[in-house]
């Protein structure tokens, strides 16, 4: 196995935090877009459906790109994890990617289509449904870990020469487990909640679609609450290492995280009820951030539990130069122009808004 210097271990940990940030940005930003897409499946009025797409027109692409950034950070800094975990997840990733493809092209095509409008409207919503389900399933499968081997059974006679890094070579369907089937549903509930709040924040106050969205937000809030409880309880049985950490010396810190999460959830709920749409989203995002951060902290130092740690999965070339370039230079810039973009497209729309070009 490889050896990182002490400095490289610190850098790898910092990159791990950055990886977590990129995934979080994707969850929070595209989660809302995907959720709005799921809700659009149940909206009959083609103008309303189109307006939901238009309401994310200027930002969806950048939101989705956070996933690509996360993938890029993973490939660049944790290539050993990337090369094995993604292969393990071939089937759910392929299905999620087909969802992403459907959603992306339907967004563009819907507004130019006439006779095929219904089809593209459906593909937009269906793609938005498939993506979070299988992404959630992939997440659940990763939490369970996967077995690795240095053998290459597909090419038993291959002269692998020096390329003997451990990788995944088991069944393509090993990702399926009761827990991963469940986490897929969990992800769907979460995006439905985010999508409901997103639609409420994006449409003019008098638009009827905001009422539909409220129903979605209310229902999925309670579903989400139940889902979190179920997932945590299930995790207690599945992941002894997690329980060990939660009840360890820093139990009070975990308790604080829990209380903060509950507080943020209540604030989000209250903001929804009062019609403070942006605040509702931001509080919900805080909930997601706390839970995501809590999950990463629970897993630390594992990236894939019992499979890859930050240090065994990191590139041997992690260097202070590339990290500094990314941190000092590019990440802050990315966040800056993203923020500007959201500012420009912050105005509420009505169902008569056209796709802006």
């Amino acid at each position: 196995m490889q050896h990182l210097s002490a400095m490289q271990e610190i850098l790898a940990t910092a990159w791990w935090a950055l990886l977590g940030f990129s995934f979080l940005a994707y969850l929070v930003l595209d989660g809302a877009d995907l959720g709005a897409g799921v809700i659009s499946l149940f909206i009959k009025d083609p103008q309303e459906k189109g307006a939901i797409m238009a309401s994310m027109a200027g930002t969806w692409d950048a939101n989705e790109t956070w996933l690509v950034v996360a993938g890029g950070v993973m490939f660049g800094t944790f290539p050993f994890v990337y090369g094995s975990a993604f292969h393990f997840l071939m089937v759910p990733l392929a299905l999620a990617l087909w969802g992403i493809i459907s959603r992306a092209i339907s967004l563009e095509f819907y507004h130019h289509a006439e006779s095929s409008k219904r089809f593209w409207g459906f593909m937009f919503g269906f793609g938005s449904l498939v993506t979070p389900y299988f992404a959630g399933m992939a997440m659940g499968a990763v939490l369970l870990g996967f077995p690795m081997t240095s053998l290459h059974p597909g090419n038993a006679h291959a002269n692998l020469g020096p390329f003997t890094l451990p990788t995944y070579s088991g069944s393509p369907l090993a990702f399926i487990s009761p827990f991963s089937v469940w986490t897929g549903f969990g992800a769907l509930i979460a995006v439905a909640l985010a999508g409901g709040l997103f639609i409420r924040a994006r449409f003019e106050k008098h638009c009827p679609v905001r009422e539909t969205a409220l129903t979605w937000a209310n229902t999925s809030f309670y579903l989400a609450l139940a889902a979190v409880v179920i997932t945590v309880v299930w995790s207690i049985f599945l992941f002894p290492w997690a329980v060990h950490k939660w009840l360890g010396a820093y139990w009070w810190a975990w308790l604080l995280v829990l209380l903060a999460t509950v507080f943020a959830a209540i604030k989000s709920r209250m903001a929804t009820a009062k019609g403070h749409d942006l605040a509702a989203i931001l509080w919900l995002n805080l909930v997601v951030t706390l839970m995501w951060g809590g999950m990463m902290a629970t897993m630390f130092p594992w990236i894939v539990p019992n499979t890859w740690t930050i240090f065994s999965g990191a590139s041997p070339n992690v260097s202070i130069i590339t990290f500094t370039m990314a941190m000092i230079g590019f990440f802050p810039i990315m966040i800056m122009y993203n923020a500007y973009q959201w500012w420009v497209f912050r105005g509420r729309v009505t169902k008569l808004v056209a796709y802006g070009h």
Partner: protein
């Protein structure tokens, strides 16, 4: 026999070849068309002539449909390295993955951010800010092309790494990035995109002129695009030729396969300098069954001397020989298209010189216009065949000379590979069909000549699709100061 020819390896290659071929249809038009959009927007701001604005908005519609398809197929690309070629991703990750990571951080996100502003920001941001957004789209899309070609060039002529503990450790970032192939492959790809965009614009414009619609609007981009092509296309041919010399020097096996060049020496011991116009390999794979050969041309092309020795396939160990038929014919198709496009551009220059590209007389050159419409498709084929040449002539290596494709592929069952392929055949064909269908729909609909020209921003945050009877629908988009 050869490990590389097992069904499993062939399918893994085909899985990746398919998604790459279906992705490379879009980004070259994106980074080729973006500078032309910047040009038209800049002309509009400089001259305040409305037709530049109308042209910009019209081609922007095609641009965004193309971009959407590029994003849709591109996200897959990034994940597929890990999915289909996991061991390669692990071994090459320290360099290759880092470069792709930088592409996402410095280019992909950058592009996505400013593209939203460029396409949907009209009227919401000021004119100068909009021009700045367009400029950033140009820069970011070119950066993206650069990073991708850096990564791919390293696979062609790997440098600056050493193999240790099962992965390639970077010993020198500078030499790993600036490989012999990269220096020419990056501009060759970028200029390919520009040639594509020039002929795309010329082809679309020619169609309008042929139909007698908006002739005065489209005569101008048609002429400008083709006059630019008079210079750009030969530049591209020169870049390609220079890249060929690098390949001859650094990837002799690839060159031998592109040229169907089996024997280094003739039977009498003199260098084999013959260049095959057409050929077909024999069943044993150690020579050509038949060939139409011109002496001295191969040496001229690759060594720039009359009798220079070019290493043939017989200098390569049989287990390291690439396939011949596809690289050989792909390469010829690409080159033929390059010269044909130059001929079309020169034809345009001659017509312009004769004054026959003016608004009043341009519509009379029916055959010229039809040729232009046809020529708009050719750069796509040239890019495809060029990429196939590059990727297939590198076989059986995934990292030339260091890692074999069979060593780099994920351990997959044939069923898994077919599942992937079948799914992507359906999805990518839908994307392609949809994109070109909506291209043609947007083109048939023509440019929007009626909407008010946008001003300095702060005007509206959307526009209405149709006049409404519903009073509450009147736009209340007054933006807070």
């Amino acid at each position: 026999m050869l490990l590389e020819n097992t069904l499993s390896v062939l399918l893994a290659r085909f899985d990746f070849a398919w998604i790459t071929s279906m992705h490379i249809l879009y980004p070259p038009l994106t980074f080729g068309l973006a500078p032309l959009l910047l040009f038209s927007e800049w002309r509009w701001m400089k001259t305040n002539e409305e037709h530049w604005y109308r042209l910009n908005r019209f081609f922007e519609k095609l641009f965004i449909v193309n971009f959407g398809a590029g994003v849709a197929t591109g996200v897959t690309m990034e994940m597929s390295f890990g999915i289909l070629f996991g061991p390669f991703s692990q071994a090459a990750g320290p360099f290759f993955g880092q470069i792709l990571g930088y592409e996402t951080i410095t280019a992909f996100m950058y592009e996505a951010g400013f593209l939203g502003l460029m396409v949907f920001g009209w009227g919401k941001i000021g004119k100068k800010m909009h021009l700045f957004a367009t400029f950033n789209v140009v820069l970011s899309s070119l950066l993206s092309a650069m990073w991708i070609l850096i990564a791919n060039s390293w696979m062609q002529t790997p440098r600056g790494v050493k193999l240790q503990d099962g992965s390639f450790h970077v010993t020198n970032w500078y030499t790993a990035i600036f490989t012999p192939d990269m220096v020419w492959a990056v501009p060759h790809m970028v200029v390919a995109g520009i040639v594509l965009a020039l002929f795309f614009v010329a082809g679309v414009s020619a169609w309008f002129v042929l139909k007698g619609r908006h002739v005065d609007l489209f005569a101008r981009p048609l002429k400008y695009a083709l006059l630019a092509a008079v210079l750009v296309v030969p530049f591209q041919i020169w870049l390609g030729d220079t890249l060929g010399v690098v390949i001859a020097h650094d990837q002799p096996a690839a060159l031998a396969s592109m040229e169907g060049h089996y024997h280094t020496l003739n039977k009498d011991g003199s260098p084999n300098t013959g260049w095959h116009l057409l050929a077909w390999p024999n069943a044993e794979g150690n020579g050509n069954a038949w060939a139409i050969t011109i002496p001295h041309v191969l040496s001229m092309l690759e060594t720039h001397t009359l009798n220079g020795k070019v290493p043939g396939m017989d200098t390569i160990a049989p287990k390291d020989r690439p396939p011949v038929v596809i690289p050989f014919y792909s390469f010829r198709v690409m080159v033929a298209i390059g010269f044909f496009l130059w001929f079309v551009a020169l034809w345009a220059a001659w017509l312009a010189f004769k004054g026959r590209l003016s608004i009043s007389s341009i519509a009379k050159n029916k055959w010229f216009l039809r040729t232009l419409v046809f020529s708009a498709f050719l750069p796509y084929l040239a890019i495809w065949t060029g990429w196939w040449t590059r990727e297939i002539a590198r076989q059986p290596w995934i990292v030339y000379g260091l890692m074999r494709t069979a060593q780099g592929m994920s351990p997959m069952t044939v069923g898994q590979e077919i599942f992937w392929l079948a799914g992507y055949v359906i999805f990518e064909l839908t994307v392609w069909g949809g994109t070109w269908y909506f291209f043609s729909k947007i083109i048939r609909k023509g440019p929007d000549m009626d909407s008010p020209v946008v001003g300095e921003g702060h005007e509206h945050l959307g526009h209405l699709e149709e006049p409404s009877h519903d009073e509450s629908a009147s736009p209340r988009y007054v933006r807070p100061a």
